[in-house]
């Protein structure tokens, strides 16, 4: 189906083979996942969220890569261009790999996350993240597209003044 995404010139996440600059997922319960935008000069993405294990028990509350509530002893290990969230039994829960594109960066997230019912809600692989579309909190792009408003300032040909998107 047609999908409208906000895409950054600098950094994007890969989601079902497509790009988007930010990913926000929320279940009706307490599951929450946010892959934050990465601004120019930054390189390593950060995530926030509340994740559960296969039994539906709280696994982790994380805020911009800070482990806020960590009842099951996970660790966030920096690894090359990225990081890996590892369980106490050395199982990779979620890993982040930053890949250079022609003029920017693309992050591929791999792993599996569960919601409060123990159900798999997010899975990451070679084509990036996959999740039920109804979980996604969409950006303003949809509204902007329909209204046809330009979100960029005009800039002179060859000049360096930049318009700023959402």
């Amino acid at each position: 189906m047609d999908e409208l995404k906000m895409v950054s010139a600098y950094h994007n996440y890969l989601v079902r083979g497509r790009l988007q600059r930010e990913v926000v997922l929320k279940s009706r319960g307490n599951f929450f996942f946010h892959a934050h935008r990465v601004e120019p000069m930054e390189r390593v993405p950060s995530i926030s969220g509340r994740f559960f294990d296969r039994r539906g028990e709280l696994l982790l509350v994380i805020q911009r890569n800070e482990l806020v509530e960590n009842p099951q002893g996970l660790a966030l290990i920096p690894m090359g261009d990225g990081w890996s969230l590892i369980s106490s039994t050395m199982e990779a829960i979620l890993s982040c790999q930053v890949v250079d594109a022609k003029e920017g960066l693309i992050t591929i997230l791999r792993g599996v996350l569960h919601d409060e019912r123990g159900q798999e809600v997010l899975k990451g692989g070679e084509l990036g993240l996959e999740f039920p579309p109804e979980l996604e909190v969409s950006e303003l792009a949809e509204r902007e597209f329909r209204s046809g408003e330009a979100d960029r300032e005009a800039r002179p040909c060859g000049g360096s003044e930049n318009g700023v998107g959402l």
Partner: protein, 339 residues
């Protein structure tokens, strides 16, 4: 959104030059005058990097049609996809590069849509009174520059040669909405099938990106003079180009031809020797930042294009120029050697 200015990017499928990035700068200018936005159309299989690059260079919206059936340029399939997009989103203007792929695609799309197409445009403007796209294109074998309009049919279409417009600077802060289209399942049969693709060796000709170019024309009438032109290029570390007559004489390969049916160049400095300045040639050099022309005819049109003109015989001027350059180089080498 209706009435947009579109730039078709073909490199996702064919890996050709990025003329789309140049067209975005002109597209932005046109869209501002029309009160609309400039969008890029990407067709291909894996379009990730192209999408980001287009946004970085000015695309305010990107429409992406991707899938395995779009991995290579297949004229009928690409035409079908573009036409479907046009029917759905109704752009005002579509710009394509005047490349082999772009020319074929533009012609097919224009025919399918029953609209006008101007080829190899040298400039594009918006008529303030009518809002029509005014397309400046060579006509009558390049002897005239015509202003072409397509007042009734839409979209208005034009192809533009690579190197005609500058690119906008890369903007890492740029963002844009991208509409990924559920294609567009245009599984048409082509009349032919791509069996294999081979990248031709690049050679050492980089005229379009060279900062300094020395160009020779029909006024270079003898081999000694031509040899001097080569010496000048070597002394400057410049790329060598020339006009059609020199290519036809076998003195230069086709890829070094500058002009309407050759390369369009935009060097910082161009030294043009014995080129009269015919329209076909002038159209290929106008983007140069500083032009020095050498010709023995004081009335030659090339002096209208030049920032600095030297009237004289190349056989007389070039040896002195090469000698002076060699002296300067020797002095610089000595200074460097002595710290």
């Amino acid at each position: 959104m209706k009435g947009e200015v579109w730039v078709v990017d073909e490199s996702a499928s064919f890996g050709e030059n990025r003329v789309a990035l140049e067209l975005l700068s002109k597209g932005r200018e046109l869209s501002r005058k029309l009160g609309t936005r400039c969008c890029a159309i990407v067709l291909g299989c894996d379009t990730r990097e192209e999408v980001m690059e287009l946004i970085a260079h000015g695309a305010e919206m990107v429409y992406v049609a991707q899938g395995p059936h779009l991995s290579q340029f297949r004229p009928r399939v690409y035409t079908e996809v573009v036409c479907r997009l046009v029917h759905e989103f109704q752009p005002e203007i579509i710009l394509l590069g005047a490349t082999e792929t772009g020319r074929e695609l533009a012609a097919r799309v224009a025919k399918r849509l029953d609209t006008g197409l101007s080829a190899d445009c040298l400039d594009l403007e918006i008529d303030e009174e009518t809002g029509n796209l005014v397309q400046l294109a060579p006509a009558f074998g390049g002897k005239l520059l015509a202003e072409v309009v397509c007042p009734e049919r839409r979209p208005q279409m034009a192809t533009v040669r690579p190197g005609t417009f500058p690119q906008l600077l890369h903007d890492p802060k740029a963002t844009a909405p991208v509409l990924y289209l559920d294609t567009v399942d245009a599984e048409l049969e082509e009349e032919w099938e791509v069996v294999a693709m081979e990248v031709a060796p690049e050679g050492d000709c980089e005229l379009e990106s060279a900062p300094v170019v020395v160009s020779a024309g029909a006024g270079v009438t003898c081999s000694e003079a031509f040899h001097l032109v080569i010496e000048l290029a070597r002394a400057l570390g410049a790329q060598l180009g020339g006009t059609r007559p020199l290519v036809q004489r076998g003195l230069l390969p086709q890829e070094r031809m500058i002009g309407q049916t050759g390369k369009t160049i935009r060097p910082k400095v161009l030294i043009t020797v014995g080129t009269s300045g015919a329209l076909q040639y002038a159209s290929g050099i106008r983007g140069s930042e500083f032009i020095i022309a050498i010709d023995k005819n004081p009335m030659a049109p090339i002096f209208d294009e030049a920032d600095l003109g030297i009237v004289g015989d190349a056989s007389d001027i070039l040896p002195r120029l090469v000698s002076a350059l060699s002296s300067v180089r020797k002095e610089n080498d000595l200074e460097a050697a002595h710290g």
